[in-house]
Amino acid sequence: MTSTSKPEAVSIWFFVGVLLAFYGVVITGEGLYHLAYPPERPVVLAWLHADLWWGALLLLSGLFYCYHFAPRKAG
């Protein structure tokens, strides 16, 4: 599912993967930090640790897209 037919073109999905993976690292990192140091004013349903599993999901999705749509495979 590359975005253009030019052999050298980088797929938009690769860019999406890079950003999602980066966001996954930052958000999971925040989640781990708050696991060790719970915030003074937690959000509603904080005990579900949404930042941990949502961050991990973003990271895994990002890595999949980075691998699957890496520039060497494009075209």
């Binding site: 599912m1 590359t2 975005s3 253009t4 037919s5 030019k6 073109a9 980088v10 938009i12 860019f15 999406v16 890079v18 950003l19 999602l20 980066f22 966001y23 930052v26 958000i27 990192g29 925040e30 989640g31 708050h34 915030p39 937690p42 959000v43 509603v44 349903l45 904080a46 579900l48 949404a50 930042d51 949502w54 961050g55 973003l58």
Partner: protein, 572 residues
């Protein structure tokens, strides 16, 4: 109305809703860096006019389809419809379902072959091929004018939201976001705008999907949400889509099912999704006819799911937020929160540092992608349909690409000027919102007759479009000068603004069609040979008989239609 973002946060309360941490700022900064990097990367691939204005016509069905949807999925629209669902309940879902899905499927299955086979670069360009220069000029001027104005209004509204939600300076928000958009669109043209719209689509879902997931968990699922709302309001009609539409007085929107079905579902929706060049341009960039037909169908499939991240959060706010949200004026007077803040409030309810930054990035991305859509469409219409058609017809391709780049920057600058103008005179927003709606319904009448009725003539197309537009303006002015005229225009004195828009669109479409038909029958038609590639009955449509059933666009259109009907029945 599809594609028209609600104006939010007319006046900011004293305190911002929440503050951002380092992780949030890192996430926002990474987004800005990525969109600029994409623009810089794509500059090398954008050499010709076809590259800059039509993205090389190389987009896959998925890219074109997600971009087609994203161009409409602005952050103000998300916040505005979440607010509407808090205020009106599940009725707001009609703007995503019957107000979009049938039209998107119709575009893919019926209209795309003519747009695509004619190789037009724009909707005004199609009008020129079908009806001649006068119709093109009328459509192009109105579209170009309204597009930059809407872009400026959206820019101002978003800056105001950023001030209310985050405490950011309005000038900073306007200049930082608009200069970034100007840079990446001027560098990479439509291809850059489309790539960033796909990125925005993913970010919106990544940033907003947690709210309904966690909210429904807290509320006890859909049944729990319905029970809580019924308990809070003492009525059960807020979680039904159709059962209260039998009378104008029975629902909070003051609308009748005829207005929803014929005004919204037919004229306004079909007008917006099939003739507004802002969205149609994305599909014209598809790599082949099958991709062009599939793109709106893919967009429709995802459009059906958008209420999960827009309408459901609004209903969750109604059920779960401890405070009652009020109208904008009352919020300013009392220091409380308005309906328009329901989405940010729900974001702040569940999202801590990091996730909050992702949610805010989704809002910013939505705004920037919407603005990029406006300026890229403006650049194309200005360069091809006005500059090349009427000012400088003989220049080479490089000249038009340069004009497109400068025009992009000029469009952003005019938008910024409009934003500051609106800052001084906020009432302009009401007028421009109405102005935008004047052109949509009649334009649909002109285009659909042009595509499906070969007897329609150039004079019929032009006079139908002109009288349809003028009649819409006249009806709007009539109600402004004499509010009691609402009973004639909207069929009820109880009709609200939204209902008035729907019926005004319906009347102006009917007037456009009648005038087009009458004038066409009185004037000489074009010979069939001049209508090949433009009109049904004169255009050979490539057969799909040799394609597997599951690869045919019509198969997927039926699949989406079945789900659409099922959803409406379930939430009746």
């Amino acid at each position: 109305m599809p594609g028209l973002p609600l104006i939010v946060a007319a006046a900011p309360p004293a305190e911002r809703l929440f503050s951002l941490g380092v992780a949030d700022l890192v996430i926002i900064a990474a987004y800005f860096a990525m969109v600029l990097a994409i623009g810089l990367y794509l500059k090398g691939q954008t050499q010709t006019g076809e590259d800059f204005f039509m993205a090389g016509r190389e987009m896959t069905a998925w890219i074109a389809g997600l971009s087609f949807l994203s161009a409409n999925l602005g952050s103000l629209e998300l916040m505005g419809w979440a607010a509407a669902s808090y205020q009106y309940g599940l009725l707001a879902v009609h703007w995503y379902w019957i107000g979009a899905i049938p039209a998107m499927l119709f575009l893919g299955v019926v209209m795309m072959p003519f747009y695509y086979i004619s190789k037009t670069h724009s909707v005004p360009g199609y009008l020129q091929l079908r009806f001649g220069e006068s119709s093109r000029a009328l459509a192009a001027v109105s579209f170009a004018f309204m597009t930059v104005l809407m872009s400026g209004i959206n820019m101002y509204s978003m800056a105001l939201v950023m001030k209310v939600v985050l405490g950011w300076d309005i000038n900073f928000s306007i200049w930082a976001s608009s200069l970034t958009v100007a840079a990446y669109v001027a560098l990479g043209g439509l291809r850059s705008a489309i790539f960033n719209e796909v990125l925005q689509f993913v970010l919106i879902w990544a940033g907003a999907l947690l709210i309904p997931i966690l909210g429904l968990y807290e509320a006890g699922g859909w049944a729990g949400l319905q029970a809580r709302i019924a308990e809070q309001l003492g009525r059960t009609d807020f979680t039904h889509a159709w059962s209260t539409l039998g009378s104008f007085q029975d629902n909070p929107m003051g609308v009748h099912w005829t207005g929803i079905v014929f005004g919204l579902g037919w004229v306004i929706s079909f007008g917006y999704w099939t003739t507004d060049f802002l969205v149609v341009q994305r599909v014209l960039a598809a790599k082949d006819l099958r991709a062009a037909k599939m793109a709106p169908i893919i967009g429709a499939a995802f459009k059906m799911m958008v209420p999960f991240i827009v309408i459901v959060p609004g209903l969750l706010g109604l059920a779960l937020l401890p405070e009652k949200l009020v109208g904008e004026a009352e919020a300013v007077a009392t220091g409380g929160h308005s309906y328009n803040e329901v989405l940010p409030l729900m974001l702040a309810r569940y999202c801590g540092p990091g996730l909050l930054g992702l949610g805010i990035t989704a809002l910013i991305a939505g705004f920037m992608a919407g603005m990029a859509g406006n300026v890229s469409a403006f650049a194309t219409v200005w360069t091809y349909d006005l500059y090349r058609a009427f000012i400088k017809p003989d220049a080479d391709d490089a000249h038009y690409v340069a004009m497109g780049r400068w025009c992009t920057i000029l469009g952003v600058m005019v938008s910024i000027g409009t934003a500051y103008l609106v800052m001084e005179f906020e009432s302009i927003m009401d007028y421009v919102q109405a102005l935008f709606s004047f052109f949509i319904a009649p334009l649909f009448g002109t285009v659909i007759l042009g595509m499906l009725w070969k007897r329609a003539t150039s004079a019929g197309g032009f006079w139908g479009l002109l009288t349809g537009t003028l009649s819409s303006i006249a009806m709007w002015a009539w109600v402004k000068l004499d509010p009691s005229a609402l009973r004639y225009v909207a069929l009820s004195p109880h009709a609200k603004d939204m209902a008035e828009n729907l019926y005004r669109g319906l009347w102006s479409w009917i007037i456009c069609v009648v005038v087009t038909v009458v004038v066409s029958l009185a004037t000489r038609p074009k010979p069939d040979s001049e209508l090949v590639g433009l009109v049904y009955g004169c255009t050979p449509i490539p057969s799909e008989n040799d394609v597997a059933l599951w690869r045919r666009p019509i198969f997927w259109a039926y699949a989406v239609a079945v789900v659409f009907v099922a959803l409406n029945l379930y939430f009746w």
